[in-house]
């Protein structure tokens, strides 16, 4: 007898709404389906009535955590349409902020993953270390979130010499802490029990369903836009693409912790090799007709902006595909055959920039009667208790 549960859209903490319908057989998930669109804001339509400068700020607000990646992709697309060359110092500062943003996003994810499995100590510690990165970002750009450092033609603010010293000091602290989080992810028993062997996604399926980002790299797919299609200052930097053969949620945690270490090394390289010169080239307001495909590696995966211009100061069409949408078919595949207690952590493994659920209504399909309403908190509690009971 299978029971169908809708996991409904609203939840007041951190994330955005989504609706899942889970078909269960006992505790095992037989099938899972998802409804999206609760956070649809009409940004693609809205961009057609704003000029390119206003659109930088509009694309920034597509995501609060990946905001640097969105403005970088948009600005570099418009710069290609204009045939404008960004000065090298501008490219280096842009890349510095992309990497600081990546460190921030991965530390945030570690906290969220810890919270989903009930490990609130890890949540508090990683978010306190995230404050180091937020302070560095604030020193460079003037704001903690929605930093608006990019402009068409380069960056808006420069990095002074005492900022460089402060950044290097912050990076050293972060490197020590990220080594600690790597140890937690690989040896801490509480973490391993909830993430090892959970949410398996084999490599062939990851390629077939076109997964991107650390989630795909944890299944052994070696695709990173920074290496395969370099943009900004990445051609001048020396770094490794981190993959793992584990194919489960623990693999995503290890990949992200190692990526924090790699990003710290890149930031250090950028600060030490920062070239002198201008930070911005002058850009005309009207963009000649043309089209461009602009790709970058956001913290969550491959991000693409397609821009078509028509000779005025407003775009003809802006198309954005955020990385989380590409990972949805893969996460639904990896949840089938798992347990309902695993839903919070497997969903968190793709680092959803659009997920949040509350209100589980248990429906008995044979009798058609509503049995019980559960909140997301109760689902998390259920997961923690279920695993505690299973052990002993």
């Amino acid at each position: 007898m299978s029971v169908s549960i809708p996991i409904g859209p609203q939840h007041p903490a951190l994330k955005e709404p989504v609706n899942l319908t889970v078909t269960l057989d006992g505790e095992k998930i037989v099938d899972i389906d998802m409804r999206l669109g609760y956070n649809h804001r009409g940004i693609e339509k809205g961009s057609e009535s704003r000029n390119y400068i206003q659109n930088i700020y509009l694309t920034e607000r597509i995501c609060g955590i990946c905001n640097v990646a969105h403005t970088t992709t948009f600005c570099q697309g418009v710069e290609e349409l204009l045939g404008l060359e960004v000065p090298k110092r501008g490219l280096f500062i842009r890349t510095l902020l992309c990497e600081l943003n990546r460190i921030h996003s991965h530390l945030l994810w570690l906290g969220v993953a810890g919270h989903e499995i009930g490990f609130d100590t890890l949540f508090m510690y990683s978010w306190r270390d995230r404050e180091i990165v937020m302070d560095l970002i604030e020193i460079v750009s003037g704001n903690r979130v929605n930093i608006a450092i990019n402009a068409i033609g380069g960056v808006r603010r420069d990095v002074s010499d005492d900022m460089r010293a402060q950044i290097l000091q912050g990076i050293s602290q972060l490197e020590a802490r990220s080594q600690y989080y790597l140890d937690v992810a690989s040896t801490e028993v509480t973490f391993l029990r909830r993430t090892e062997g959970v949410g398996k996604l084999p490599k062939e399926k990851a390629i077939e369903l076109c997964a991107v980002g650390p989630f795909a790299r944890a299944s052994g797919v070696e695709y990173d836009v920074r290496k395969d299609d370099p943009f900004a200052a990445y051609p001048y930097l020396d770094f490794k693409v981190i993959t793992s053969d584990r194919c489960d949620v623990l693999g995503t945690a290890i990949v992200r912790a190692l990526e924090i270490v790699e990003s710290c090394k890149m930031c250090r390289q950028i600060i030490e090799e920062l070239p002198a010169g201008e930070i911005k080239a002058k850009a005309p307001r009207k963009v000649p007709p043309g089209e461009v495909v602009s790709k970058t590696e956001a913290p969550r995966g491959e991000l693409i902006h397609y821009i078509r211009s028509n000779g005025t100061d407003r775009p003809e069409r802006l198309k954005v595909r955020a990385p989380t949408l590409a990972n949805i078919p893969s996460v639904l595949y990896s949840l089938r055959g798992g347990y309902i207690a695993d839903i919070p952590i497997v969903f968190a493994a793709i680092d959803p920039c659009m997920a949040c659920m509350d209100r589980v209504i248990l429906l008995d399909t044979d009798h058609g009667k509503t049995k019980r309403v559960m909140t997301w908190e109760e689902l998390r509690q259920h997961g923690m208790e279920w695993y505690a009971d299973r052990k002993g």
Binding site: I56, G142, N146, A151
Partner: protein, 112 residues
Amino acid sequence: MFPEIWKHLFKKRATVLYPFERLNVPKDLRGKPILDEQKCSLKCKGACAIDCPAKAIVMEKVEEKGSRPVFLLDRCTFCGQCSESCPFGAIKLSEEFELAQYDRKSLVSKQW
């Protein structure tokens, strides 16, 4: 995690008891926009208002001479684009960030 927790028992509290204690904000924090009346030309037809992404600047007529900007602080996102678009450098973002009010009308900032 136990050695880590032990170490943290003896560390200083990380929370700052705002508003009784204040943190120093970094230099060049993006706060409230300030208009320099002397530099505003009155004649440029509102370069700041055209580029504002949140439509937070309204141009108000000044007798027969032209128009000057009025900032709507409840819509402002403190991005600083007005400061960059002004051809005369008349707008600067200050470090003032404590701008909350009880009434929306008191957030209309007419600085002339």
